[in-house]
Amino acid sequence: MDPTTPEGQAAPPPVLISERQIAERVEHLGREISADYAGVDELLLVGVLRGAFIFLADLARRLTLPTSIDFMALSHYEHGSTPSGAVRLVMDLRVPITGRHVLLVEDIVDSGETLAYLKRTLEARRPASLKICTLTRKPDRLTADVRVDYVGFDIPDAWVVGYGLDFDNKFRSLPYIGVLEPAPDGG
């Protein structure tokens, strides 16, 4: 698969994590999560748009317990990111989560500040439980005090794309995780 190589297109980003490695890891996470929630009537998976949709689609299919799905969309305030990680909810959940078991599914955890903010926001609604699952995490960038329960891959501090992750909304649909070299400015 060379999704970005019609004539005149840039070469595809080199592979950091292959499609096969992702599939194996997602399957493993699916088993782990299913075991941890054994006996739970229904787990609500909350995908954070846009980046998490491919990971969520694959992960959800590997779970062996009853699940439902909802999405949230976030955006930064006009003046850019704030140290508190505060973001605007562009689209909130359709369903109430009070008393429900919730798994928040993210594509990437960088500083973790936004995730910590999101977690506080959802905890205020008093779910029965709230855990976090991320496809990738950059341990070197982490500044927030936030516990991530399930991590697909710990990755170096590089600009990664594919499998939902984008640069300027490009490369999101690559079936693997690649690295942009050299890293774009402003990362």
Binding site: M1, D2, P3, T4, P6, G8, Q9, G39, D41, E42, L45, G47, L49, R50, F53, I54, L56, A57, D58, A60, R61, L63, L65, P66, T67, S68, I69, D70, F71, A73, S75, V90, M91, R94, V95, D166, N169, K170, R172, S173, L174, P175
Partner: protein, 179 residues
């Protein structure tokens, strides 16, 4: 715990093969397009879109749109409203609208009209599953995964009361009485 597992209507392998074939056709039809914008209609289309986008061999980007019914909508087409609009402008861009299921086609028509006002370079429609609508007519679509009979199908993004969406196959549930 709901122990009910809907019987298989379309198995996972058949879906994968069909998604592959659709991706080849869509890639061929958009050869030379430098960036195809795929718009997924939430919530049902996310799984189909996730698989389809990965199989395309042309550069693409992804956005989502979310709809809901007005509380007292008289008909389906009058009753739809945008809960979340696109993040990106589509003027002059090639757009593929990706839906999970279409029967009357009213919701899709609403979306197509809404998006055409924005003057995309092209706008095509792709749906995982199509049923016959009222009077047995088939909605006109550019790409159809499966034409299916009038049964309540679930899985692969399709839900029944937000359940069964994450099944890896397409299954059938009957009415709430006999499920």
């Amino acid at each position: 715990m709901s122990g009910f597992q809907p019987p298989v209507f379309i198995p996972e392998t058949a879906i994968a093969e069909r998604v592959d074939a659709l991706a080849r056709r869509i890639s061929a039809d958009h050869a030379g397009v430098d960036d195809l914008l795929m718009i997924g209609v939430l919530r049902g289309a996310f799984m189909f879109l996730g698989d389809l986008a990965r199989r395309l061999t042309i550069p693409c980007s992804v956005d989502f749109i979310s709809l809901s019914q007005h509380e007292r909508g008289a008909t389906q087409s009058e009753g739809v409203r945008l809960v979340m609009d696109l993040r990106v402008e589509i003027k002059g861009r090639h757009v593929l609208l990706v839906e999970d299921i279409v029967d009357s086609g009213d919701t899709l028509a609403f979306l197509v009209h809404t998006l055409e006002v924005r003057r995309p370079a092209s706008l095509r429609t792709c749906v995982l599953a199509r049923k016959r609508g009222p009077e047995g007519r088939l909605a006109r679509l550019d790409y159809v995964g499966f034409d299916i009979p009038d049964r309540w199908v679930v899985g692969y993004g399709l839900d029944y009361d937000n359940k069964f969406r994450t099944l890896p196959y397409i299954g059938v549930v009957h009415g709430p009485d006999d499920a």
